[in-house]
C-alpha cells in the first residue's frame, strides 16, 4: 500500500470520526471529557506513522 493510499484511508478515518454521524456516538452523555482529544490524538499518531514510512522525496 502506497503512502498516498494510507493518507487517503487516514483522511476517511478522520471524516468518519469527526464529520459523520459517528460524532453523535462519541459525544453522547457519559463520555469522559477528554475523549475528543484522545480520538484527535490517535488520528495525529497515525499521521506520524504514515509520515515516518514515507520516502524523503515522496510528498
Amino acid at each position: 500500500m502506497s503512502a498516498l493510499d494510507k493518507t487517503l484511508i487516514l483522511f476517511l478515518l478522520g471524516v468518519l470520526l469527526f464529520a459523520s454521524p459517528l460524532v453523535d456516538w462519541w459525544s453522547r452523555p457519559g463520555m469522559p471529557w477528554y475523549l475528543p482529544y484522545l480520538l484527535w490524538g490517535g488520528l495525529i499518531g497515525l499521521g506520524i506513522l504514515i509520515q515516518l514510512g514515507r520516502g524523503r522525496h515522496d510528498l
Partner: protein
C-alpha cells in the same frame, strides 16, 4: 502591578522589541541555521492560524457552543492529513512560478486581471473585520486587566508598532521573492509563547483552582451539567459546517497561504507539518475546557471570552496574568503582521501595478525601490484600514462570530482551489461567476445582518430569515448556500465557455501536464538582446539585475545563444518577474517585450528536453497506465544511452536530440554539451564527419579513418531517416530528422593489423630459405666476379665485371626491398586509395613467392591484362595476392598450374586465382575466411592468410569468395571497385 495601562503598554512594547531582536538575530545569522531551518520552526510559524479567536475566544465559544469550538481545529487537521494531495502541489507551483499570494495563484490559473482584482478586493473585505477583531481583543484584554476603558491611543500605538515590524521584517528585501527567515522565526516564537502561556493558564486552572486531577473529577461529578454543556451542542450545533469552514481556512486564509507556501524554506518541512500543526492545535486547545470550568467554578463575572485572562487575575497570579496578556498580544500581532503582508502583496500586484503598467507609468530606474516602498505604504494603509474598522464598528458579536464571517468569505475560494488542482476544464468566466455568486450570498446572509446588529445604519435584511431558516443556523445557511451558488455558477460558467490557450497552458502547468514549451523567442538571438528588450519596460538597471539573476539561477553563460536555452531563460525570467510583480504582469511584460511567436515551430530538441524535464519532475504523480508508459520510456531511454554503439539523433532543424554515452565516449564530447546544439557547434572533426555523412547519399560508410587529437580512429557510420510516429498536435508532432549510428572499429582495426602483421611475419619466415637461396646465387656470382677482378688488367673487362657485380647487387637490393615492402605493409597509417595496376601487383607477388620454397615445381601464370587497374592500396593488395597464390601453391601438386586472370565488370574488376589442386570440400567453403581456420596439420599453417585477405578486400569495399571446380581445383575470386575515368587516364 498590572492595573496600570502604562505597565501593560510597556510590557507589550517590550515583547514586540523582543520579537524585533529575534527577527534581527535570525537575519544576521546569530541563530544557528539548524534551528532556523528546523521543520518545527515551520510548523510553529503555521501556528499563526491561532489568533485571539483561539487564544481568548475559544473559551467563550466552548461556553456557548460546547465542543463545537474544536471543529475550527479538526477541520485544519483533516486538511493537513490531505497535504500530499491538497497542499504539496500548490507548494510546488508557488515555488516554481514564484507566486506570492492567493490572488497570484488564481490570477496565474484563471489568467485574468479581473480574477486577481476580484480575489484581492473580496479578500480585503472579508479579512479587514478580522484584523479589527485582533485590535479589539488586545484593547479588551487591557480593559479586563485594568477594569477601565483603554484609550484609543493604545490601539493606535499597537497598530503603529505592528506596522513598523511588518515593514522592517516582512518588507525588508528588495524583492518579495526572497524568504524572510527573521519573520518566520519571530512568528514561530509567537506561537510558542501562545502555547506555553495557554498551557500555563490551563495548569493554573487544574492545579490552582481544582487542586489537581482529583479535584477536577469531583467538580465534574458535582456539576454534570458542565460536561453536558460541552457535549450536547455537538449534535445540535453547526458542527459539520464549521469543520468545512476550518478545512478551507487551513490553506485559504491569507496568513495561512503566506506561511504555508510563500515563506516555506524547505518543501520537506510540509511533511512534518501534516502532523505537527494538528498536534500544536491539540495542545493549544487542551486547556480550554479546564479554563472554562475553572472560570465557572470561581464564578468569574468577566465574559467567558476573557476567562483566560481573568482567571489568573482572580486567582491573584499577577505574573501569570501579565504573561497571558503577552500571549494575547502575540496571537493578535502574528495574525496582523502576516495578514497585512499577504494583503499588501495582493494589493500591489493586482490593484496598483496593473494600473501603472497599463498607463505605462512604471519608473524606469530603481523599480525595486519603487515596489518596496509601494509595499510598505500598503502595509501601513491596510493596518490603518483595520484600525478604521475597529474604530467604526462596535463589535456586538463575539470574537468567534466575526472570525467566522471571514472563514465563510475565504471558503468561497475553495471551488476555485479544487478546480485548479483537479479540473483542467475550469475557466475564468466560471471562476468569476461562481465567486460573485458566493460573495452575494455572503453579503446578504452575513454582512448585512451583522452590520445591522452592530448599530450602523443598514437595512434590516437577513437572507437566512428571508428564506425561512432560523437565525441560529445562519452559519450553516450562509456556508451551504454561498458555496452551492458559487459551485453551480462555477461549473455552469466553465462548461458554457471554452478555456483560452493561456488558461489551458496554466491548467497544464498546475497539474504538471505541460509537455510542450509555450513558444520561442522570435526576436532575441542572444542574452544581450533579451536584456535590451526587457529594459524597455522595467528599466535598464532592473533588466540587467534580473538577467544576471536568471543566468545565475540557470547556470548559464552570458554568451549563450542556443534558441532552446534562450527560451528557458525567458521562461525563468517570467517566473522571477512573477515573484516581483505577479504572474499576469510578468507574462504581459515577457510576451510584449520578449516577442513570442506562439505559432512558430518549437525546436524539436527543445520540446523533447522540456518533456523530459517535466516527466522527471512529475514522477511521483504518474499513476496507472501513465506510470507504466513512463517506466517503459525510461527503459527505452536507458537502452539507448547504454547501447554499445554511438547514437546521435539530429532533428530536422539540424539540432542534436540524442547523444548517448557511447557517442560521448567515442567523440569525447559530453551529452550536456552536445544535446540541443546545432551540428556546427561540435568540435572538429565531428561536425565535418557528421554533416558530410548526413548530407551524403550513402546510408553506410565503412572503415572511415579520421584523426582525433592526433590519433587515428576507424569508424563505421550508418544512418536512417526518422519518420514521424505521431499524428495530430502534440509536443513531438512532426518528429523527424535523422539517426546516425557510429561504430568504433579502432580496436578491431588494431587487432586486424596485428593479425595481418603476424601473417606477414609467418610469410617472411616461409620466404627465409628462398631469400637465402636467391641472395646466395648473386652473392656467389659477385664473389667469383670480384676474385676475377683482382687479376683482370684489361680496363674494358674490368668495366664489364663491375657492371655485372652492380647488376647482381641490384638483384639483391630488389629482393631485399620487396621483402621490406612486404613486411612493413599496414604498419604505417594507410595511404589513400589510388589506382593500382593489378598486373604489376600480381607480378610482384609472384616474384616474392618465388623466394620461398613452396610450389617450386608449380607454374604460375599471370594473365591479368596489363592495363587492368583497381582503386586500392598497392601494398595491401600485394599481400592479398601473395596470400592467395601461396595458398594455391600449397594446394597444388608438382606439375600443376596456378593461373591469375583478370577482367573488367560493370562498376568494377574481377581477379581469379585458379589452381588445379584437390579443391575445398563444400562444407568448409563458409569457414575458410575465418581467422585461424586451417585444414593443414598443426604447425604447418597459421590459419590467418585467408582471413587477412578477406579483411583487406572488405576494407577496399570489395568481395572475395571461393568455389571448387567440378573437375578439381579451387577458384578464389576477388571483386574490387572500379576507378574513376581520370584516374584511369592518369
Amino acid at each position: 502591578m498590572i492595573s496600570e495601562i502604562g505597565v501593560l503598554y510597556a510590557a507589550g512594547v517590550a515583547y514586540l522589541a523582543l520579537l524585533f531582536f529575534i527577527a534581527h538575530a535570525t537575519e544576521r545569522g546569530w541563530l544557528p541555521t539548524a534551528l532556523v531551518r528546523h521543520p518545527m520552526v515551520y510548523v510553529l510559524s503555521l501556528g499563526v492560524y491561532a489568533t485571539t479567536w483561539t487564544y481568548y475566544g475559544s473559551v467563550g465559544f466552548a461556553q456557548s457552543e460546547g465542543y463545537n469550538f474544536l471543529t475550527i481545529y479538526l477541520g485544519v487537521t483533516l486538511a493537513f492529513i490531505l497535504a500530499p494531495l491538497l497542499l504539496a502541489p500548490i507548494l510546488r507551483l508557488v515555488r516554481d512560478y514564484q507566486l506570492t499570494s492567493l490572488a497570484d495563484l488564481f490570477a496565474f490559473r484563471y489568467r485574468s486581471q479581473w480574477t486577481g482584482l476580484l480575489v484581492t478586493l473580496f479578500m480585503l473585505a472579508g479579512i479587514l473585520p478580522y484584523l479589527a477583531l485582533q485590535i479589539k481583543a488586545v484593547t479588551d484584554s487591557v480593559s479586563v486587566l485594568t477594569q477601565e476603558a483603554p484609550p484609543n491611543l493604545l490601539a493606535l500605538g499597537f497598530c503603529a508598532t505592528l506596522g513598523l515590524f511588518a515593514i522592517l521584517f516582512g518588507a525588508r528585501h528588495i524583492t518579495p521573492r526572497e524568504k524572510h527567515e527573521g519573520l518566520v522565526v519571530a512568528i514561530a516564537f509567537e506561537s510558542a509563547v501562545k502555547l506555553v502561556t495557554l498551557l500555563m493558564v490551563g495548569a493554573f486552572a487544574l492545579l490552582g483552582i481544582f487542586g489537581g486531577w482529583g479535584g477536577l473529577n469531583t467538580w465534574l461529578t458535582e456539576h454534570p451539567e458542565a460536561l453536558e454543556a460541552l457535549y450536547s451542542p455537538v449534535s445540535e450545533g453547526p458542527w459539520f459546517t464549521l469543520i468545512l469552514l476550518a478545512f478551507a481556512a487551513a490553506f485559504l486564509l491569507p496568513r495561512q497561504f503566506h506561511m504555508l507556501f510563500v515563506e516555506n524554506m524547505d518543501p520537506h518541512a510540509l511533511r512534518v507539518a501534516t502532523w505537527g500543526l494538528p498536534l500544536f492545535l491539540l495542545l493549544l486547545n487542551l486547556p480550554i475546557p479546564l479554563i472554562l470550568w475553572a472560570g465557572q467554578a470561581v464564578a468569574l463575572e468577566t465574559p467567558a471570552d476573557y476567562f483566560v485572562l481573568a482567571l489568573p487575575v482572580d486567582g491573584g497570579a499577577g505574573w501569570l496574568a501579565l504573561f497571558t496578556f503577552i500571549g494575547g498580544v502575540s496571537a493578535a500581532s502574528a495574525m496582523m503582521i502576516i495578514t497585512t503582508l499577504a494583503l499588501a502583496a495582493m494589493c500591489l500586484n493586482h490593484l496598483i501595478l496593473p494600473a501603472h503598467v497599463n498607463q505605462q507609468t512604471l519608473p524606469q530606474s530603481n523599480l525595486y525601490g519603487w515596489l518596496l516602498w509601494g509595499r510598505r505604504l500598503l502595509i501601513l494603509l491596510i493596518i490603518a484600514l483595520g484600525y478604521g474598522f475597529y474604530w467604526l464598528l462596535e463589535f456586538n458579536q463575539g470574537l468567534v462570530q466575526v472570525g467566522l464571517i471571514s472563514f465563510v468569505a475565504v471558503a468561497q475560494f475553495l471551488p476555485g482551489y479544487l478546480a485548479l488542482l483537479f479540473w483542467p476544464r475550469a475557466t475564468r468566466i466560471g471562476f468569476i461567476a461562481g465567486l460573485l455568486g458566493g460573495i452575494t450570498v455572503w453579503v446578504l446572509a452575513l454582512i448585512i445582518p451583522v452590520i445591522h446588529e452592530s448599530g450602523l445604519p443598514m437595512i434590516n435584511f437577513n437572507l437566512a430569515v428571508f428564506m425561512g431558516a432560523e437565525d441560529e443556523n445562519r452559519w450553516a445557511f450562509a456556508t451551504f448556500w454561498s458555496l452551492a451558488v458559487n459551485s453551480v455558477l462555477f461549473v455552469i460558467g466553465s462548461l458554457l465557455t471554452r478555456p483560452t490557450r493561456e488558461e489551458t497552458e496554466a491548467a497544464q502547468a498546475c497539474r504538471r501536464e505541460q509537455f510542450s514549451p509555450t513558444g520561442v523567442s522570435a526576436d532575441a538571438r542572444n542574452v544581450a538582446q533579451l536584456e535590451s528588450h526587457l529594459a524597455q519596460v522595467i528599466g535598464p538597471q532592473t533588466a540587467h539585475l534580473e538577467i544576471q539573476r536568471a543566468l545565475t539561477d540557470m547556470g548559464m553563460q552570458p554568451s549563450e545563444k542556443r534558441p532552446g536555452e534562450l527560451r528557458r531563460l525567458r521562461t525563468h525570467l517570467e517566473r522571477n518577474l512573477s515573484g516581483l510583480m505577479g504572474p499576469l504582469l510578468a507574462r504581459m511584460i515577457v510576451d510584449n517585450q520578449l516577442n513570442v511567436a506562439p505559432q512558430a515551430q518549437v525546436a524539436l530538441a527543445d520540446s523533447l528536453r522540456f518533456v523530459e524535464e517535466q516527466l522527471e519532475h512529475s514522477t511521483v504523480r504518474l499513476r496507472g497506465l501513465a506510470a507504466e508508459l513512463d517506466t517503459l520510456r525510461r527503459y527505452h531511454r536507458q537502452v539507448l544511452h547504454e547501447l554499445p554503439l554511438g547514437v546521435c539523433s539530429i532533428d530536422p532543424g539540424g539540432d542534436i536530440l540524442i547523444w548517448n554515452n557511447t557517442m560521448a565516449m567515442i567523440s569525447g564530447i559530453e551529452a550536456a554539451h552536445a544535446v540541443g546544439q546545432p551540428l556546427n557547434a561540435l568540435k572538429d572533426p565531428w561536425e565535418g564527419v557528421l554533416r558530410t555523412f548526413i548530407n551524403g547519399d550513402d546510408k553506410h560508410l565503412y572503415k572511415l579513418q579520421i584523426s582525433v587529437d592526433g590519433r587515428y580512429r576507424w569508424l563505421n557510420l550508418h544512418k536512417a531517416a526518422i519518420e514521424s510516429p505521431t499524428l495530430g498536435h502534440s509536443a513531438t508532432h512532426g518528429l523527424g530528422g535523422m539517426v546516425v549510428l557510429v561504430e568504433d572499429l579502432t580496436e578491431l582495426h588494431n587487432l586486424e593489423s596485428e593479425v595481418a602483421h603476424n601473417d606477414r611475419l609467418a610469410s617472411i619466415g616461409r620466404l627465409a630459405a628462398g631469400v637465402a637461396h636467391e641472395i646466395g646465387n648473386p652473392l656467389t656470382g659477385i664473389t667469383s666476379l670480384a676474385q676475377n677482378l683482382r687479376y683482370e688488367q684489361d680496363p674494358a673487362e674490368v668495366d664489364l665485371t663491375v657492371k655485372q657485380i652492380l647488376e647482381q647487387t641490384r638483384r639483391i637490393n630488389d629482393i631485399v626491398q620487396s621483402l621490406i615492402t612486404f613486411s612493413h605493409a599496414g604498419e604505417a597509417p594507410r595511404p589513400l586509395p589510388v589506382a593500382v595496376n593489378l598486373n604489376a601487383c600480381v607480378d610482384e607477388a609472384l616474384q616474392l613467392i618465388k623466394l620461398s620454397d613452396v610450389g617450386r615445381e608449380v607454374t604460375c601464370i599471370n594473365e591479368v591484362p596489363k592495363d587492368l587497374k583497381a582503386r586500392g592500396n598497392h601494398q595491401r593488395l600485394l599481400q592479398v595476392f601473395v596470400n592467395l597464390v601461396n595458398n594455391a601453391l600449397q594446394a597444388s601438386s608438382p606439375g600443376d598450374r596456378v593461373a591469375i586472370r583478370g577482367s573488367r565488370l560493370p562498376g568494377g574488376v574481377e581477379i581469379h586465382v585458379d589452381d588445379e589442386g584437390a579443391g575445398i570440400p563444400s562444407g568448409l567453403l563458409d569457414q575458410i575466411f575465418e581467422p585461424f581456420f586451417t585444414t593443414k596439420p598443426p604447425g604447418e599453417g597459421t590459419g590467418l592468410g585467408l582471413s587477412v585477405v578477406y579483411s583487406i578486400i572488405q576494407d577496399h569495399g570489395g568481395l572475395v569468395y571461393a568455389d571448387s571446380h567440378a573437375q578439381g581445383g579451387t577458384r578464389f575470386s576477388i571483386r574490387l571497385p572500379a576507378i574513376e575515368e581520370e584516374e584511369t587516364m592518369a
